[in-house]
């Protein structure tokens, strides 16, 4: 072995060790919660530190699923997500299509203004939105929350899909127009299937936002039975986390798994899909 090869070998080993340590440090919080979620009651308080479940039990999972309204929260989350995705897409797709295909007066201005409006931090609208909902009688209803979630994701949806529509050649549409299809038919049959990657990324982003939103959910829904999963778990830990901590770790795992699966499925789209429409003016 020459000296050069030897040095290369040493450098690779050092790099591998560094990455193993880095991955370990990264995964500590998740692994610790995972092991606690399968451990008996005393494990969290014991002085020792272990990443392997002590007195293996499914008790925490049973507790979160049957002692708390977990399935109700899950159902609410699914209803809210589905409703938000539907409303956001129904509003954003035609607007994105119009902004991409037609050059009409006010188009550039509209896109700009939308981007500026999107800069306002949502958290700070909490109070005003509470007023809107009370005024319209939508307080404490899923419909009100769906409107708010859809509105907050609408600008992202328009920009993201407009960017993708721009890359679909117009000639394809013109051919179908000669065949006598009207606008709506053409969008549904030609444009949407071609824009599938952008549509999927947009829908998943909406899904993730709704799935993870706790502040609006717990402020605008007054009855904990109507909470989404995020709202329910947030409330669970804010009531008394020392008693519920093991249960909460189990709940965290259950709430994270669906997102983890979706995330790794679409991860390759995420970087390009997120930055494409975000900043380019």
């Amino acid at each position: 072995m020459t000296k050069r090869q030897f040095r290369r070998r040493v450098r690779l080993i050092a790099l591998n060790v560094a990455f193993l340590l880095l991955c370990l440090v990264t995964l500590v919080p998740v692994l610790y919660a995972l092991s606690l979620s399968f451990s008996g009651r005393g494990a969290a308080l014991s002085g020792s530190l272990s990443f392997w479940p002590k007195d293996f039990t499914l008790d925490n999972y049973r507790a979160i699923m049957f002692d708390e309204p977990f399935f109700l929260w899950l159902k609410n989350s699914l209803v809210l997500s589905a409703g938000t995705i539907a409303l956001a897409m129904v509003c954003a797709v035609p607007a994105a299509y119009a902004a991409s295909r037609w050059r009409f007066p006010g188009r550039r201005g509209m896109l700009r203004v939308l981007l500026v409006l999107n800069a306002f931090p949502q958290v700070l609208s909490l109070f005003a939105l509470f007023r809107v909902l009370r005024l319209t009688g939508l307080l404490n209803s899923h419909a009100g929350l769906v409107v708010i979630y859809a509105g907050s994701m609408c600008v992202f949806g328009i920009w993201n899909m407009k960017g993708y529509f721009d890359t679909i050649p117009v000639e394809i549409e013109e051919a179908s127009r000669i065949d006598g299809a009207n606008d709506a038919q053409m969008i549904c049959r030609i444009v949407l299937p071609l824009a599938k990657p952008a549509i999927i990324v947009t829908c998943v982003m909406v899904l993730i936002t709704v799935w993870n939103e706790y502040l609006f959910a717990t402020t605008f829904l007054l009855d904990s039975k109507t909470y989404s999963l995020a709202g329910g778990l947030y409330q669970l830990q804010s009531n008394d986390y020392s008693r519920n901590w093991s249960t909460f770790t189990a709940a965290s795992m259950l709430a994270s798994v669906p997102l983890l699966l979706i995330f790794f499925k679409i991860q390759k789209y995420m970087v390009s899909g997120l930055t494409a429409g975000g900043v380019k003016g």
Binding site: L12, T26, L87, R107, P121, T249, S256, T275
Partner: protein, 294 residues
């Protein structure tokens, strides 16, 4: 084939615009209006317009806390971005090192924090890492025979704890962006540089960084905005209702939130919100221009 459009495009945009007006425009206008009034706990229904008093109070009275919150936010954003870019760059560089066979595995494992829902990450860290009884960090300290540390008790240490958590949550995006950019760099540039006798650091400085800068810039700008607007981490770690940890750390957003929902000073909170909005708009115009010139 140019058809007459008329009002058709606006008809297509109408549902989206309606939604945006209700959910985004109205709250901004309403916040703007409230910022000109003295609405607070004592003037809940009988509030009246008082002009620019709230703005003056936020900007010129140092004890209002706004300016120190703004300083904290700037420090928070600058430190986070600097560490994120540097750490993300070197980790991505390591992942692309020739001969590293397990790099795909490492990359997947390093992406895990990105996939965990944000509020769950924060709550898991709050109890699982930082808590004095349940937290991993304190268990480690005890095992090493050291005293316990309350990682959220005072401003300095709470700031560092929040930053550690923010890095944990945000680094995966940075790593994967920079990793993608690195793979687009032309390999032949390195080979000719090696022939010219250039060392590792010289190649990084004169080839890698200039090549990836335009690709990373939009992602870096986006992350800067997200970091600047970060609310959940500081709120959930240190100032949940009933679980104030003792730290009085505030960024501008938590400051505005706290003024509205804890001290019920809606006028001041709205003025701060509007100032924040203006700052973000100015900043986004500035970055938009510099991105285009790149």
């Amino acid at each position: 084939m140019r058809e007459k459009l008329g009002s058709k495009p606006w008809f297509y945009c109408l549902p989206a615009l309606l939604l945006v007006v209700i959910v985004i425009v109205f709250p901004i206008l309403y916040t703007g209006y409230i910022s000109l009034t003295n609405m607070n706990l004592y003037h809940w229904t009988d509030y009246k317009v008082i002009g620019l008093g709230n703005y003056a109070r936020a900007l010129f009275k140092f004890d209002s806390g706004f300016l120190s919150a703004l300083l904290t936010t700037l420090l928070w954003t600058a430190l986070n971005m600097a560490i994120q870019l540097a750490a993300g760059f070197f980790i991505a560089l390591g992942l692309n090192a020739p001969g590293l066979r397990l790099s795909r595995l490492y990359k997947t494992l390093l992406m895990v924090p990105w996939a965990v829902p944000a509020y769950i990450s924060i709550l898991l860290w709050r109890v699982g890492m930082f808590n004095t009884e349940f937290g991993v960090l304190n268990k480690l300290l005890t095992m090493l025979g050291l005293g316990k540390v309350d990682f959220l008790a005072t401003n300095g240490i709470a700031f560092c704890s929040c930053m550690a958590l923010n890095l944990w949550m945000a680094l995966p995006f940075m790593i994967s962006t920079i990793d993608g950019a690195l793979q687009s760099v032309d390999r032949s540039l390195y080979e000719s540089a090696t022939l010219d006798g250039a060392g590792f650091w010289v190649k990084i400085w004169y080839i890698t960084i200039p090549a990836i800068r335009p690709i990373i810039a939009p992602a870096a700008v986006m992350t800067t905005f997200i970091t600047f607007k970060q609310f959940d981490i500081i709120y959930l770690l240190t100032q949940q209702r009933g679980y104030m940890t003792g730290a009085t750390l505030n960024t501008v957003i938590t400051y505005a939130h706290q003024n509205a929902f804890v001290s019920n000073n809606y006028g001041l909170s709205s003025a701060v919100s509007m100032l924040l909005f203006v700052i973000i708009i100015l900043f986004s115009f500035a970055t938009n221009r510099s991105l285009r010139e790149d």
